[in-house]
Amino acid sequence: MIEVKNLCKYYGDKKAVDDISFTVEDGIILGFLGPNGAGKSTTMNMLTGYLSATSGQALINGVDILKDPIKAKEQIGYLPEIPPLYLDMTVKEYLDFIYDLKKCKSPREEHIKQICNLVKITDVYERIIKNLSKGYKQRVGLAQALIGNPPILILDEPTVGLDPQQIIDIRNLIKKLGERHTVILSSHILSEIQAVCDKIVIINKGKIAANDTAENISKSLSGDHRIIVRIDGSRDENIKLIKGISGVVEVAADFEREPGVFEYTIETDGNTDIRKELFTRVAEKNRYILGLKSAELTLEDIFLKVTMGENITTAKKEKKQEKKDDGGKK
């Protein structure tokens, strides 16, 4: 488990990471999302002990990375943004070196071979790292993080510079690793985070803008609770029918999507699930629902909304404050 408590980092006067706190439970793949320069790599560097936090605390399985760095580092496999490879070594020599560096105890040859098979670098095992392609270098970097079988893996943009097939391979590998390891994965590629991660932390300008599952973040952001539905038949009648359902606040009809089929955007009060009743009512009129989806935000929407505008927590607080103010006026 990783616990981050009120972590701050200044570079001179510049605040790179501003009081962030989050927890990663065991066996979770956490996506660390944010635009360039948001503080992702700085945070990861602090978690791995490469940088020291200006204030705050990072606990790796209960061990403070600053107080007992060696014990904490033993539990982490880290792939930085630029794989830390000694270009003059062969893959074999390099992995041997990392094995010694991490003071591993499992049988050397078997362990290294297993990892090479896992990240698919057996065919370049004897080659000098300098001559490898970017994709292979990245995979050797991943291999070094895996050596010693650390329970926690911290991967900083692991798929940068890979071709689409390699990206798919690495993602599948990370998913597989997530079964046995706790993984923190940073990226600014949204589909990657969505495909792989159980939980997401969005960081913007050094602050945490959102911290939850993609689904929950989406729900909390699309606070207006909208449903988009396609129903055949007369437009006006359908609007009337939908308006008759309790909990519906607003209905708007879109243009004709298919011959005789309109799309309606229904806004609910947020407390009532109107889907079952909608279905029954439409069926009673011998009409058909041809499509029904909630207008939840995609990760792209969330990302843009969060990083371009205010963060969720502040937005929520402001809403509450507004309500209070309104109440006061009344």
């Binding site: 002990g49 880290y78 990392i98 003071k103």
Partner: protein
């Protein structure tokens, strides 16, 4: 520490740097061997070691320039600093690797001594005394070079910075002679590398001189550790 020591040693012997170093070391010591021993028909090798002092000022920075600066440049320090190794372990691993390369260069003195022994009796105790002196001197120089290389990511800056420091060390006696205050002057001259090293070339194994060089190296290595530590707080 062992892993880093081994990796650095392999890196030395797979790069041209060490061969340039060994070639230059052998070339100059060879010239001095010719001038001091063969030309004067003596088995006293003290003069060779004496003259090698100034050569070391220039060639040790070649040996140490890449030690920590290269790691910083290619970001391989991320691998070392996030591994379960102490900063002292990292610094000492690199320090001892450079020391071993330095000592391997000195093996050539024993070849010279062996050649001389064919023609006349060589005082082996003296050769050992000279060698011990140069070994501790070299370690002190290496620790300076290692410290400078921790400050920069450019090998050139590291090498030139180390040269400059070595020259200052060389000039300590001269600097002391310019200081009017006698107490300060004697304090400065007590740091002189030259006078302490020359004792060895006269055949005196002075424990305090050995302690001076070894503790100087220890202090420089400590400062290097502090530089690495400070970088984390940067």
């Amino acid at each position: 520490m062992k892993a880093i020591f081994r990796r650095e040693l392999v890196a030395y012997y797979t790069s041209p740097i060490v061969y340039v170093y060994l070639a230059v070391f052998t070339l100059f010591s060879g010239i001095f061997f010719q001038a001091v021993c063969l030309y004067n028909k003596t088995t006293n090798m003290g003069g060779i070691y004496d003259n090698m002092f100034s050569v070391l000022l220039f060639i040790i920075p070649i040996l140490t320039m890449r030690l920590l600066s290269e790691d910083k440049k290619y970001k391989t320090d991320q691998c070392l600093l996030t591994a379960p190794v102490s900063l002292t372990g990292i610094v000492l691993g690199k320090f001892f690797a450079a020391t071993v390369v330095f000592l391997s260069g000195m093996a050539v003195f024993f070849i010279y001594a062996f050649m001389l022994s064919i023609y006349s009796a060589v005082e082996w105790q003296l050769v050992v005394c000279y060698t011990v002196g140069m070994a501790v001197l070299g370690m002190a120089f290496i620790s300076v070079g290692l410290f400078i290389s921790s400050l920069t990511e450019s090998q050139i800056v590291s090498a030139i910075g180390s040269f400059a420091c070595m020259i200052v060390i060389y000039m300590i006696d001269m600097i002391a002679s310019f200081i009017p205050n006698k107490t300060i002057a004697s304090m400065v001259s007590s740091l002189s590398f030259l006078t302490k090293f020359y004792e060895f070339t006269y055949g005196i194994i002075n424990i305090s001189a050995i302690l001076f060089f070894v503790s100087f190296a220890a202090v420089m290595n400590f400062l290097t550790v502090k530089v690495l530590e400070k970088r984390r707080w940067g």
